[in-house]
């Protein structure tokens, strides 16, 4: 019937992401060291307090050392005026590349984007747009990532686990660009593969209010929708407030949490049994793919259409491979490191 067909399709999707990821070359081999010579890069994260971004930038700095690219982080507390300052710093000091990594919306610093373009500074965005979203025209290049697919996996995970009877509460932050495609992915998964599933509530909480609003909102939602069996905090940093909400409303065991990003403390949550599943991405991989893409642009080669970092599901069965306590780069294997070395023509 329709229900079991849907569950079968969902299971197929999930199985695909439980396999250890494999490296696919983003393009032709090229001499990255020659391209990077004398170049500098300034990475501006959305906020330096975000461990996901911090992890990527730390790896970018390390990878930069390997290939001779000087990478620097523009530390900030998430205030747009600080991003403006970072952009201007890059322009004033003739930095070759500005890396808007996963969060700073180029539209918010438009005057600076223009100035950078005029000054010959290459501004790239990485891990920010969904492939379906048009990038800012002033960008020198864009490495999108499919947030839709993350949503799609999350939706199918619930179908797979509940045998087609998922009843979910989604926690989201509409103000960040990736939210829309990600939530769309969840909706589409349920629509296509599960006639009986439903979303009881979608709770929209601004990032600055996660600490105060997520926990009470989730509690209220669980109490007012007693049949709910999944809470999906779409970004896993939200789960620290969802976990106590589930416990305090006495729904431990009945309500499960699935999320995405692979942040280490959430992997620890999985090991402790508080969270069921987290969709992970290797931060080191993202760092390498990002630098690879930018360098291709500078070398005059075509940039890949997507960042190309595979998703990998962590749950109780494999979370120990990420380390105890979990680390951001463990558990994904390491053939990609060798893969990039080969593509970059490094001995």
């Amino acid at each position: 019937d329709a229900v079991s067909d849907g569950v079968a399709r969902a299971t197929a999707v999930i199985d695909q992401y439980r396999k250890l990821p494999t490296f696919v070359a983003p393009g032709a081999d090229f001499d990255i060291e020659a391209t990077a010579k004398g170049k500098t890069m300034l990475s501006i994260p959305n906020t330096s307090a975000n461990q996901f971004l911090k992890g990527i930038i730390t790896r970018e700095i390390a990878v930069g050392k390997e290939i001779g690219l000087k990478v620097q982080e523009w530390q900030n507390q998430g205030q747009p005026s600080q991003w403006v300052q970072g952009m201007d710093f890059a322009i004033n000091n003739k930095i070759s590349i500005v890396d808007l990594i996963s969060g700073v919306n180029p539209a918010v610093v438009e005057p600076q984007m223009q100035a950078a373009k005029a000054a010959g500074v290459h501004v790239f965005a990485s891990h920010f747009y969904d492939p379906s979203q048009p990038p800012d025209p002033l960008l020198a290049g864009n490495l999108p990532v499919s947030f839709y697919r993350q949503g799609w996996i999350l939706g199918n995970w619930m179908i797979y686990k509940t045998g087609g009877h998922a009843n979910a509460v989604i926690v989201k932050s509409d103000e960040v660009l990736p939210t829309a495609p990600l939530v769309q992915g969840i909706h589409d998964a349920l629509a296509k593969n599960c006639p009986d599933c439903k979303i009881s509530a979608e709770i929209n909480v601004g990032i600055t209010e996660w600490g105060t609003k997520i926990q009470p909102s989730v509690q209220s939602a669980l109490l007012s929708h007693p049949k709910v069996n999944y809470v999906i905090p779409i970004y896993d940093s939200m789960s620290q407030f969802v976990v106590p909400a589930v416990r305090l409303s006495g729904k431990t065991g009945q309500v499960h949490i699935a999320t995405s990003n692979g942040t280490p403390f959430v992997l620890d949550f999985i090991r402790n049994g508080d969270v069921e599943m987290d969709i992970g991405e290797s931060l080191d991989w993202i760092a390498r793919a990002t630098i690879d893409g930018y360098m291709r642009e500078l070398a005059g080669l075509p940039m890949p259409k997507e960042i190309g970092v595979p998703y990998y599901l962590f749950d109780a069965s494999n979370v120990k491979t990420a380390g105890i306590p979990a680390s951001a780069n463990k558990g994904y294997g390491d053939d990609y490191v060798a893969g990039f070395k080969k593509v970059w023509e490094i001995k």
């Binding site: 009470p216 007012s224 106590p244 416990r247």
Partner: protein, 322 residues
């Protein structure tokens, strides 16, 4: 002397907040039948607001003595994160981690007291500064990330349920009663009030103003640290940001509470009621599925409206709290 008699204005003033709370409960019970007015809902409400209630109670102590303490939010976070790092990361037993986090609270209090009382810098400035320093330290020791895996022993002591409500709520209740009794029925409490209302007169009356102010600041930091312990135990994790988010609501509750029960004076019962009044409204609104922004409007609106009602009950007199 005439015995104090029943006085309608005063009664309205004292119990306007309680009335507002009951009204909120009634309205939501009607709008959300079978969902809102349940033991489950209220037990969750009582437990989760406990850290915020502790902050509000911590605040009223220096406020009564005439000092602001803006650092309580940061101190709560610092204490929670210290427990997280020591217990979950370094694997210390909870019984050792808690004293260290209380010591951190003590240190915050002493630093605040030194600069406010000895160097004589306005309390707003000092605690603004020390909150910023503490927030920095928190980010450093927590590496800006949430630390999970705090020992079930602590979670048990804080979150274990009695009559369906986590123990932490009873602790908060006990704390409020103690503060109430100290303020209303002990010499120390009255001394604090005198110091807060007129430092000069208090000194002329032979009170050791400096020591009293310092003690209030230290106690408020210690309570905030205790709030951090409660927070860590409630969540089983410590996150480096949310203590600050409790700060403004706690201030609102302290001031709102000062319009109730003993109007015109910061008081523990009023503050407690204010915390739960605001939380009840927000819970009801979220259960209705109303967008989150409405809760901000409710928070601010309820604060102003409740104080306005009590102001009109007292004929719009100037209040003594500032």
């Amino acid at each position: 002397m005439a015995e104090p008699r029943f006085h309608l204005g005063l009664f309205v003033e004292r119990f306007a907040l309680v009335g507002a709370w009951l009204l909120t409960i009634i309205v939501f019970s009607i709008v959300l039948p079978g969902v809102f007015l349940t033991w489950g809902n209220f037990s969750v409400l009582f437990a989760t607001q406990a850290p915020g209630a502790v902050l509000a109670l911590a605040l009223i102590i220096p406020l009564t003595a005439g000092d602001y303490d803006l650092s309580v939010g940061a101190t709560l976070t610092l204490s929670a994160v210290i427990i997280g790092v020591l217990n979950a990361v370094l694997q210390w037993p909870v019984a050792l981690a808690i004293p260290v986090s209380l010591a951190a609270g003590l240190a915050m209090g002493l630093i605040n007291a030194f600069f406010i009382v000895y160097v004589r810098i306005p309390s707003l400035v000092v605690t603004l500064g020390s909150a910023s320093v503490a927030a920095g330290l928190v980010q450093w020791i927590s590496n800006s990330s949430t630390i999970s895996g705090i020992s079930p022993a602590l979670i048990g002591v804080i979150g274990h349920r009695f009559l369906g409500i986590s123990l932490v709520f009873y602790y908060v209740l006990a704390l409020a009663c103690i503060i109430w009794i100290v303020f209303e029925y002990t010499g120390l409490g009255r001394s604090i009030l005198f110091v807060g209302r007129s430092r000069e007169v208090a000194r002329l009356s032979g009170l050791n103003v400096d020591w009293i102010r310092a003690a209030c600041l230290v106690v408020s930091s210690l309570l905030a640290a205790l709030g951090g312990v409660a927070y860590a135990g409630l969540l089983g994790a410590a996150d480096p940001f949310s203590g600050l988010n409790y700060l403004l609501p706690a201030f609102a509750a302290a001031y709102l509470g000062a319009t109730a029960i003993l109007p015109g004076r910061f008081n523990a019962l009023g503050a407690l009621i204010a915390v739960y009044f605001l939380a009840t409204g927000i819970t009801g609104l979220t259960m209705l599925g109303i967008p989150i922004w409405v809760t901000s409007v409710f928070n601010g609106g309820a604060l102003i409206v409740a104080v306005t009602v009590s102001q009109f009950a007292r004929g719009r007199e100037e209040t003594d709290i500032v």
